[in-house]
Subunit: 752 residues, 2 copies
Amino acid sequence: MQWRIEEKGFNQEKIEFFGSKFSVGNGYFGYRGTLQEYGKEQLAACTLSEIFDDNGNGWREPINMPNGLLTKVYYRNKPLSVLDSKILEHTQGLDLSAGKQYRQTTLETEDGKKVTIEANQFASIDNIHLLVMEYSVKAEAAMELTIQTGIDEEIWNINGNHFASIEQKAEGAVSGLVCKTLQDSKEIAIGQLVKITKGNGTVTNDDTDITFALSLQPGETFAFEKYVAIGKDTDCENPWESVMAFCSEASDTGFETLLSKQSAAWKKRYDSFGLSIEGDEEALQAIYYSYYLLYSSAPTHTDKVAIPARGLSGQVYKGAYFWDTEIYMLPMFAYCAPEIAKNLMMYRVHNLEGAYEKAQEYGYRGAFFPWESQEKGQDGCTHYNLTDIFTGRKMRTYFRDKQVHISADVAYGIWKYVTITKDKSILLEGGAEVIMECARFFNSYAYFKKDKDRFELLDVTGADEYHERVNNDAYTNYMVWLTAKITLEVLDFLAKEHPDHYQKVMEKLDYEKELPEVKEMAEKIYLSKPNQDGIIEQFSGYFKEEDLSIEELYSRIIEPNEYLGSPVGLAVNTQIIKQADVILLLSLLSEEFSEDVKEKNWAYYEPRTEHGSSLSTCIYALLAAKIGKVDWAYQFLMKAAKLDLLGNYKQYLGPLYIGGTHPAANGGTWMVAVQGFGGLEAVEDGIVLNPHLPEHWKQLSFRFVYGEYICQACMDSKGISLQVEADTDAPLRVKVRDQVLTAKVGENYFAL
Amino acid sequence: MQWRIEEKGFNQEKIEFFGSKFSVGNGYFGYRGTLQEYGKEQLAACTLSEIFDDNGNGWREPINMPNGLLTKVYYRNKPLSVLDSKILEHTQGLDLSAGKQYRQTTLETEDGKKVTIEANQFASIDNIHLLVMEYSVKAEAAMELTIQTGIDEEIWNINGNHFASIEQKAEGAVSGLVCKTLQDSKEIAIGQLVKITKGNGTVTNDDTDITFALSLQPGETFAFEKYVAIGKDTDCENPWESVMAFCSEASDTGFETLLSKQSAAWKKRYDSFGLSIEGDEEALQAIYYSYYLLYSSAPTHTDKVAIPARGLSGQVYKGAYFWDTEIYMLPMFAYCAPEIAKNLMMYRVHNLEGAYEKAQEYGYRGAFFPWESQEKGQDGCTHYNLTDIFTGRKMRTYFRDKQVHISADVAYGIWKYVTITKDKSILLEGGAEVIMECARFFNSYAYFKKDKDRFELLDVTGADEYHERVNNDAYTNYMVWLTAKITLEVLDFLAKEHPDHYQKVMEKLDYEKELPEVKEMAEKIYLSKPNQDGIIEQFSGYFKEEDLSIEELYSRIIEPNEYLGSPVGLAVNTQIIKQADVILLLSLLSEEFSEDVKEKNWAYYEPRTEHGSSLSTCIYALLAAKIGKVDWAYQFLMKAAKLDLLGNYKQYLGPLYIGGTHPAANGGTWMVAVQGFGGLEAVEDGIVLNPHLPEHWKQLSFRFVYGEYICQACMDSKGISLQVEADTDAPLRVKVRDQVLTAKVGENYFAL
């Protein structure tokens, strides 16, 4: 396994992309993969989790902190940097094994002298408040240099300033800032402590600016370590006191020791991943990189936040939590790090109130979860999300109003967590209420069609966002059916196993009247069946829309950046879709559909799918792998897995930065590898392993948790081996290619 | 009463408008108010009723016939006409008393000689196949002139040629053409016969071209009469034989006698109108002109057609029949000429099959009437009716799919006809089936909302076309409720009075199962009630739309011709509406709402209404009159009444001609005058008279029919007099300003 991902040479045009690609994070904050000399113009940013702000002039978005790693080198009073100087050599990279960004740059001064800058930085897992850096400058010839390091108050924000005040602080060796947010007056402190570790120079302190005046001999190196700490009043009683303490402790511990701890922490994470591929180093690294990115943004320390659509790589998409969490990110965590999966789901439980409020706002009962959920479950999604490129007018979009499947996705997520982990505690901690209230929401949303004796879900936007406000979107209807079924199962479980709790929630939610309606919904909701050709219609009337090739659709484009979706985009009255919808349904509710239906629908919908969303490719790959279209699945796996490595996505939409990492695709990558090729599926009473390996994958091995069982599966062309550890003697039920077998704990089980 | 409407002087820019303003017609055909020298460039056209054609390259539209009145004068081989010559005097006018267009033009030749052309033409009521003209030329000085008259085969069509063949014919004194349509191979013949009545000249015949070579003395007049006849194979066994006969008969009768008959026929029509206003000549003429226009396009001879949206003044709006028929045109005919009202409604009865087909096309049961109905009840409305001015792309519109209120309008129309005329024969002749099937359609269209225990009508376009695809449009829901109620009343009537017929239709339509559902619909359809401010919300969510002034909306316009309605027009996400919706509801279902609700809603909606449709002004005026806002009502009455007199409407939308007369506004004009100011309303057991006269109307008098009663009402500031004639002795129940009185037949009844 090649742990290092690196790029040689400097490319001005890739600054924004590398800022995402080489980002580090620990769930508490993300720090973009920028160089120390970068400022807001280069999109340097330290994005906080959990704190959002709305200054009234744009979208509500997460806080970017002042940049604590800003460090600049001056020669003859002029900056010496990749942006200003002749570059002789430059390497920027990420060491996945420690979650550490590094850079090594050799520059030439205007009078031909070589200077080499090296730096390493990471977001500490051991103490999530810490951002740690070591920085060195080596002169090839004798020279006077000045180095300035500090905390950059010039903050890059997409929607303007978010601080009402920024106060300078300095006590002992620590200097820093205490910031207060505009909207909620949240207090956040950032502190820095700098320790010279090699060479010496004259040090000047001016507020948070620390200047080293150096006189270097040929071959001499000057080095320092920098400990930056961030604390906010939601987790530190006195943020400034806390960050001072964090900085001092870190400095006492020292960079090397902190880095060892960091490597050990990441090793533990990778061990629980336990994935290996024989015969495909490239795929292996891309999959580990996906895992790294997703984990870097994951809330390990709290169940009050989830993972934003662009991770913690910036403020894009308002730092909000979408359905991506449940559908794309949850599976990997539930199988590999169930405690994080629980945090993600508990985030929804904590924000049931926000879902009630949204339902009420629209005149519905129950829980209508936000489309773009922020820290308290408020919906960050606005009514006007797009601009008509032809008129410059804001366009009314219905993402917020009509993507009602979000509430089904949440119920599905909790249930999926329970199915994989068997940890039903979440149901007693509020999970049951969430599921029940989601079902209630759909009872109130649905309409009954008397002459067809069925419930219908009208005026919804399904997974495919190009077709807004359609009737009976297949994905949505099936997921709502599932929500009703899950609700009945949960209530059945509570009634049997926790009758007191059952009584309590039934009363608290006044659910006696609702229950028969949930049953009726489970029986009578309209579920579109495959037609004579085996195809499930994406929504009522979809087959009547114009059927043309994507190429033909593209040939109608007038403006390169025109939006193809609703209300008037070119795809609207056609069968061209943005992303997986029916195919997502067939992937998630795999057991409900025959192989034949999956094959036929895949063949029908794939050529009609633009994959204009990072949520699409991995799902098509997942189903392709399941139905044995291995070559195709592999190509699309690599597309999803390398998305953030290659940066083949738009950085800007007009003047709006939309780049960053893609946690949904990162999670989807794992799904394709393990659930697609590995064929892993947790079911009620055991696991399924139904592998379809790419030919050049000589062996695939991965670790996963199923209830109390910790399993390592290993598969190759000869068969499957499964090592199962658990505290129980009960064997694990395993279904392998239609054979039902049992794997004994502690033994290495083999199947053909 | 000033019967002549005329314009002095020639204005090139008004050619198209005058073509509509001075048009003549008899329900069989319309002939535009163009001058004899005009061709297709000046939109000369003779538009046939009942025959439509689709050449595959555009919209299906009615047939324009070759122009039988084309007549050109040449001097020195150059045309002498308003288009080519110096005009010394020019008058064009319409004599309403005879439905006759006239012109008088004095031109100056290039060498300074005066020539005066006079012509009169009318579409015969006595023989609807006939178009009759007299034409004269008077020379002030000695001159040689050539006059050519013939049948112009250069036909103006909006959507291209509609004839597969045009065959030349000549027999005896009659020459002409036999044309065959492309789509349905309909045969239509046109013949001409020319008779010189003054002066003489050398006559040359070349096919249908007739040339007079004249040598005129100073002051000498040359005159001829021209008899043009049109016959089609739907009403003439042999069209050519028929038109020959018609021409010969007409020639034998002579222009003068035909004109006398024509005047007598129109007199009879005006007598049945019996309207007079003391103190407002201008309004009186405008109302008579509206009556003239509407009657000119009305099917007096057949119940197989209705009145197109632009009358017979051209092919605009595909010559199709809209809901305008029932809502705007029917009342005047039902009260003044019930036999025409019955024709209009029987047209719907004959086309129930088309409504079945449309319902099936959309997956519904019952009768979904066409939005743009053509001769066999097929829907001429297309899916792409508008072009996006910014992209040049066709826009998907939902007029055809979603204006489901059309079926309620049809049921309402038939029931309104019965209520006014008491002629229930229409119910036995198919009217009951139409009403029942409309109710069935809504049963199949509606959704039931269980938690609100009500039916809702979702995804409809109401009367206001700017807001497409809304839920629970107030107008639509109430009209559907009315449809259910009417159905129950009709079935109740049949069961009691015609039990055999009841049995027959119930069986034929398999209606036993439907009936309880109709009852449930009548009870449980959601009818939006006035809110705390007394306002009825136009559709669910309307109040949440942006509330701004029309001026502010206009200030956002980028392109003068941009469409303001759905899908992305500026009005869509605002409360600005195109036309009366709630106000139409309050006008039609007047008895269901209090005066207070009417006043408050009028005050709320009027400033938010763009009146961007000729269907709007008259309805606001009608309700304004009913609630005593007399000054306002008067202003808007005059706006509606003078629409076709002043031509204050768009002639073109881009390159598309959309001009013509406005029968809906013509009918609306009568409604404002008689039902608004006069306060006439026919109810189940009598009539209501609740006048609110404009101050300067010293007296308003009008004639109307109510069942077997023929009434002349006369009202002034002192009171109301009512003269009632009937074959019965039973007195008429009259409600005057909340007092219920009885008017004895044959007596002149007075009320304060």
